[in-house]
Amino acid sequence: MSAHAGTIDHHHDHTTTTGIPNKKLFMWAFLASDCMFFGALISTHVIYRLHPTPDGADPLKIFSLELTSFSTFILLMSSLLMALAVGACQKGKVEATRKMILGTIFFGLIFLGCQVYEFTHFVHLGLTLNSDMFGATFYTLTGTHGVHVAIGVLWLVFMYIRTFKPADVSKAWVGRACLQFAAFAVATVTIMIIMLAVTHVGNEQGYTLAAIGAGLQHSLISCIAFVASCATLIALGRSSWAVDFGEANAVDVEGMGLYWHFVDIVWIVIFTVVYLLEYL
């Protein structure tokens, strides 16, 4: 509200009765509802673990604790970046907010990548959605969580683009902002492909310079795309403009953050209940 032009008090909104901003309250109420949502899903999984079906898959032969631990760690770190993004935005630091959002997206994508990898890997091992009950509950539960992450990533991307909205309304900006993001996305994906290729060759031939070279050669297109997107990023990053984004939007970023953290805590539960407990 224009009446309070000075510092914005992030924890109190004077236009509302309680002082809590509407959007934040909405988000918390939604998360309360989402607790029941995941509660029902997790119950289904655990109930069927309690009474396994005959000749069902043995999770221990399928799970890869290394991979899951890694993605758990990644999600935790993304939460950190998200929290920092909210903090930065509340202080009006748009530049920092953007970086933190990008970082969150980056980790979010890695998490999703791991999940895609995990799913394809499991499918190779014979566990599919309809191979047995374990497959059904496992994929439905973790898949629903994955969809939550994907929605979160999408939201983050839109927020990221939104941060470029110029104060000068006559300026065309959406295309550039999207391009900037696309470059980032390409860079992220290609570097992941390159790393995979290199480790793949390295695992087979030992980690020598020649092997790394071979790995790079295997992913030549990715390398080119990576360089090109980095160049685009740098070029676009040099020019910027005064934006219509700042402290006033902190509540939007914060709402997004709440959602993201919630997805994170759901994973904390899933990690323990679905994965770790199987090892006992």
Binding site: T7, D9, H10, H11, H12, T18, G19, I20, K24, L25, W28, A29, L31, A32, S33, D34, C35, M36, F38, G39, A40, I42, S43, V46, I47, L50, H51, P52, T53, P54, L65, S69, T72, F73, L76, M77, S79, L80, M82, A83, L84, V86, G87, Q90, K91, E254, G257, L258, H261, F262, D264, I265, I268, V269, F271, T272, L276, L277, Y279, L280
Partner: protein, 126 residues
């Protein structure tokens, strides 16, 4: 307005410290996760490991909601709101577990497994 100004400053002050706080929390979270992973391989009593895992997850859970999600710094109402859902969900999950653990709820398909296992155990014992 002056009262508000004071609280605003308070918060500003906290905000500066939050960067380090957040990083530390993230590190603790990572460490706890590491401990959890190690824990499952330790030759300890099962009940102990399960309890510890549950406790550790709860700690992680609470750290995220209270710090990352700002519940600690927000009006208590947000906490109440969220905990209504959390407690009901927890209660429902618990009740379902209890119902499905009852003997009457063992599905017929699993009964054959249990019977096989029992037979195997009996055979092993001999």
């Amino acid at each position: 307005m002056s009262a508000h100004a004071a609280t605003t400053q308070d918060h500003a002050h906290q905000d500066d410290g939050k960067f380090h706080l957040f990083v530390q929390i993230a590190m603790i979270l990572a460490v706890i996760t590491g401990v959890e992973i190690v824990l499952i391989y330790l030759p300890l009593a099962k009940w102990f490991i399960v309890t510890s895992l549950v406790l550790l997850s709860v700690v992680k859970f609470l750290m995220v909601i209270f710090w990352f999600m700002h519940l600690k710094f927000d009006k208590a109402f947000c906490t109440i709101l969220f905990f209504i859902g959390l407690v009901l969900a927890g209660g429902t999950v618990g009740a379902l577990m209890a119902i499905f653990s009852a003997k009457d709820s063992v599905p017929l398909t699993a009964q054959t497994i249990y019977a096989e296992r029992a037979a195997e155990a009996a055979a092993n014992a001999q």
